[in-house]
Each structure stands twice: as C-alpha cells, then as structure tokens.
Amino acid sequence: MATGAYGVSFGAVSVAAGLSVTQTCALSLVMFTGASQFALVGVLAAGGAPLSGALTALLLGTRNTLYGLRLAPLLAWRGGRRLLAAHVLIDESTAMSVTRPNTAAARVGFLTTGISIFVLWNLATLIGAVAGTTLGDPRHLGLDAAVGAAFLALLWPRLTDLRNRLVALAAAAVALGIVPVSPAGVPVLAAAGVAILAGVLTRGVDPTEFPEAPR
C-alpha cells in the first residue's frame, strides 16, 4: 500500500539523516503528517539547524489547518473528541470525509481512514528505521538522492497549473541562490517568501486563466 511504502521510506531516510530509531518513531507518533516529517529530516540531512527543520515542518503543516477549516462544520466534534480527532487530520482522512453527504458518514470516513493510516504509518516507520540502521553508509546506497526524489514525488501532483509550476521554479531558484550565503535550513524557509509573494500578487486572478501568448 502507498502509505506503507511511504512510511518505510521515511523511516529509512530519517535514520540516514542522523536521527535515532527512537527519534524517528517519536516523530511519526507525535507529528504524524508525512510531508512535514520528511521536511524536518531533510533539513537536518542537509546540515540545517534542528529549529529550521521544525519551522519548515510547521510551515508545511499549515495546510492541515485549511483542511480543518473545511471539515469542522461537517465533522462537528466538540471537546475531547475534537482534541483526539485533530491528531489524525491529514491529507488522506480529509479526502475520505470531505465529500461525504452528512456528519455521520463523514465521521466514519474520517476515523477509519485516520486511525488505520496512523497505525500503518507508525509500523512502517519502525520497519524502515530498523532496516535503515542495518544498511550502512547512506551515501553508498544513494539515500541522499532518495530524499530529493521523495520531495519531488510529493510536489509532483501539485504541479498541475502554470502558476504552481512557476512558483516551484522560482522557489527552487531562490533557495539555490542563497545556499552559498546563508546557514543550512534558511534557503528552504526563504522559499516560503515566494509563496507569500505569489499569493498576494496574483490576487483575484488565477494565472492559469490568462490567455496564452500569441504564437
């Protein structure tokens, strides 16, 4: 299954980045949102400060806030149940509940998806992390290249329109441009500026709706 494969990759990549098996598993248990976890270990692997890694993870975690805003009226949980449900608010549980017609169906979809992925993700992380420690030098195995590929695979489905592609290119260029002059971890955070700028400047207009340039 996709989640299992993704979790195994995360576990292996995380120990290759220098985290212990315990730290890797703690990350999956506590953070439980894949892209943010990959980002944290990715920044650490590149030699970035742990706090830059945490900040990058938080920025990537903001999309879960938007999912929550969309789901809140549908799930309509209060108090302790909301506190528990929030932990499994991720891409997959959102996808499996946001299209349901009523609160009961949405809750079932949300919980079955969220809880089963939580269990699977943490098991897969453990397997990947333990396997990773037995593999030896990560560079000989190309695990440093695997991290870049994992980020690209996460980015790929978002490159559907022209605006997103331009933002991705600009962000990559900005990050690489300041690699020589800034501490590790900072280039990735600076790239968030591109997103903010593009979001503010394209106000009211979807750039993909611009007519194409004359040929």
Binding site: S36, F38, R63, L66, H140, A145, A149, F151
Partner: protein, 98 residues
C-alpha cells in the same frame, strides 16, 4: 536539539490541525490566505528538492544525486508508485558511485 525540534515541530503541527477544527472559518477564509496556504507546500517542496539535490554545504554541485533526480522525473512521468520513484533515484545514485 533534535529532540527539541521533534517535540516543538510535533506539538506545533498538532496545534495547526486543532486550530483548523476550532477557529471560526471566517477568520482565515479569505482568498489571499487560501492562495498563500496552497502555494506554501509548492514552494517549500520545490526548495527542498533543489537544496537536497544540488547543494553540498555552501556550494552548488552536480553529482550522482542530480542523475537520481532525473530518473525520478522519468519515473513520475510514467506514473510509477512512490516507492519505485524513491528507490529508482537511490539506485541510480548508488550505481554511479560504484
């Protein structure tokens, strides 16, 4: 320090999820906020790809990782599953370093 990052990042990510379920939608449901929030993952992931593949300390390099990324692009174009993409890139880099 790594434990601090794990706990801070983890608790922060949880609060971001809880916040979405708790705060009134009108506080954040403005077009500009939604656009920025949609674009942040795009920008961060693209920057992570770039730095992960082309940076070595403070210098920019083209090495086996770039070849791995090229293979990843090809595999994504043919809609290969996540694990195949990741391992394909790793295998490429590992073979080039033999």
């Amino acid at each position: 320090m790594i434990w601090t990052a794990i706990l801070l990042g983890g608790v922060g990510c949880y609060l971001l999820k809880l916040g979405g379920l708790s705060i009134p939608a009108r506080v954040l449901e403005r077009p500009v906020v939604e656009r920025v929030a949609d674009l942040i993952p795009v920008a961060l992931l693209a920057a992570l790809v770039a730095v992960q593949v082309f940076a070595h300390g403070h210098s920019l390099v083209l090495d086996a990782r770039a070849a791995g990324l090229g293979v990843a692009v090809l595999l994504l174009l043919v809609r290969a599953p996540f694990l195949v993409v990741v391992f394909g890139a790793a295998l490429t880099a590992a073979l080039l370093r033999l």
